[in-house]
């Protein structure tokens, strides 16, 4: 029998306009009930910025990310082998005054045998798109997730994050 899936978990409304980071599952309380997580970010930044993410508070050089990006009429790619964070958008196109959106799937986030992988697609005001695969070189379950902006940017007051859980049969 098919199983209902793709369940809404929570929304983070960044209404104060002076927030740099949002933590899901503060203190390691992120639900472990799903197979995959989906994070949808819709909004802007006070100045051009990338969206970064750290799992379980790990600030060490344990993240990699491979991107392909198409700003304007060009296309490019980049790779970071030992970053201090996962990267959901690239090239600092996430900025104020534009409609930015990012859709990230964190697959098998509780699977104790695989490194944790996030696959993210983003669009930036109609002027750029990118696709990034980010890996946290750790097999631990993701029990908290902090999403923040680079360049000390803050989220615009209409920015919103939605977290969903996908449950496989």
């Amino acid at each position: 029998m098919p199983t209902a899936t793709y369940n809404y978990i929570l929304t983070a409304n960044l209404t104060s306009g002076s927030v740099n980071s949002v933590t899901f599952g503060s203190g390691g309380t992120l639900t472990q009930a799903y197979t995959d997580l989906v994070l949808v970010v819709n909004g802007g930044a006070s100045n051009p910025a990338d969206i970064h993410c750290q799992f379980n508070g790990d600030t060490g050089p344990n993240y990699t990310f491979q991107s392909i990006a198409s700003p304007g009429t060009t296309i490019g790619a980049g790779y970071t082998a030992a970053g201090n964070y996962n990267q959901f958008t690239t090239n600092a196109y996430f900025r104020s005054g534009y409609d930015n959106a990012s859709h990230t799937t964190i697959t098998s986030y509780t699977n104790p045998y695989v490194n944790k992988t996030a696959l993210s697609r983003s669009t930036h005001g109609g002027s750029a798109i990118d696709l990034i695969v980010g890996t946290w070189k750790n097999v631990a379950s993701v029990t908290s997730m902090t999403v923040f902006l680079s360049n000390s940017a803050t989220w615009t007051s209409t920015s919103t994050m939605y977290l969903y859980g996908i449950l496989a049969a």
Partner: protein, 280 residues
């Protein structure tokens, strides 16, 4: 005479036999086999959840238990109660279920490579298939976590067949990919060997699996070729790749099965493939 009836009515039913519990939206359906009972009167059955102690009652199987929390795992026991107030011993605990909200996207099945020896260059021909796919959805989605047993460096791809078709040259593949700072395109047309997709790391001494999300549109529409698109990526320690994937089968037959193979030796132990249906 009144006294005899009282004794018969006071007999204890045997414990019900627990059946399968099935998840719903904030509810569960708990099947059971009725107690043996030679006494007088009727038996009502009560299913009780663990945790939370939520209950549902019915004279027949199955019992619906409502008020559960979506996302929480539950098991259930069933007790029979006569109308004389005599309760049976509780059944054994049911299988664990996790209620989830009904929605437009449902999980159909998951296939996991369970051959524990498929962890090295063992040449184990592991592949997976989804069969008897319901035709009740509009689109399909396949979510893959995969790795090859081949001990070579680098990565390959997976490839997908529909309905086991491998003749008539129906398949086409295209992707745009990036690895390090290099961007590349790849195209195959008029092929019998399926639609190639995804990033499939070969067997390295790490826990790097590739991930791919592929969506198949209008899979029951017999007037259309079957088009798929998706995204995929992996980091296997030495390098990484990320891809936009597209593909097509010119066959218009409703897709009732999907077969996925590695372009290498075999899918490694714990590779997992989940199939979802999207309503429309």
């Amino acid at each position: 005479m009144t006294r005899i009836i009282s004794i018969v009515g006071g007999m204890q039913p045997s414990a019900p036999t627990i059946g399968t519990a099935t998840a719903g939206d904030t509810s569960a359906s708990v099947a059971f086999t009725a107690s043996s009972y030679i006494g007088k009167g009727t038996i009502t059955y009560t299913a009780t959840s663990s945790p939370s102690g939520l209950t549902g009652t019915s004279a027949t199987s199955p019992i619906t238990v409502s008020g559960l929390s979506n996302g929480t795992a539950y098991t259930f026991t069933v007790v029979g109660n006569t109308n004389y107030g005599v309760a049976s011993v509780a059944s054994a605990s049911s299988n664990s279920i996790t209620p989830a909200a009904s929605g437009d996207w449902e999980s159909i099945a998951t296939q996991t490579i369970t051959n524990a020896s498929a962890t090295a260059a063992s040449n184990v021909a592991n592949y997976i298939s989804f069969t008897s796919i319901p035709s009740t959805y509009k689109h399909l989605r396949v979510q893959c976590i995969m790795k090859d047993t081949w001990s070579a460096t680098g990565f390959g791809e997976a490839y997908m067949f529909f309905n086991t078709v491998s003749s008539g040259n129906p398949y086409a593949t295209h992707w745009t990919a990036a690895s390090q700072t290099t961007v590349s395109n790849f195209t195959l047309t008029n092929r019998n060997d399926g639609i190639f997709f995804g990033v499939l790391p070969r067997n390295q001494s790490n826990n790097a699996f590739g991930t791919a999300t592929m969506e198949i549109y209008d899979y029951t529409n017999t007037n259309k070729a079957k088009v798929i698109k998706g995204v995929a990526g992996a980091d296997w320690g030495a390098s990484a790749s990320v891809q936009f994937n597209s593909g097509m089968s010119s066959a218009t037959t409703t897709i009732s099965s999907i077969e996925i193979y590695p372009n290498g030796y075999g899918f490694q132990y714990r590779s997992t493939f989940a199939l979802y249906g999207m309503k429309g």
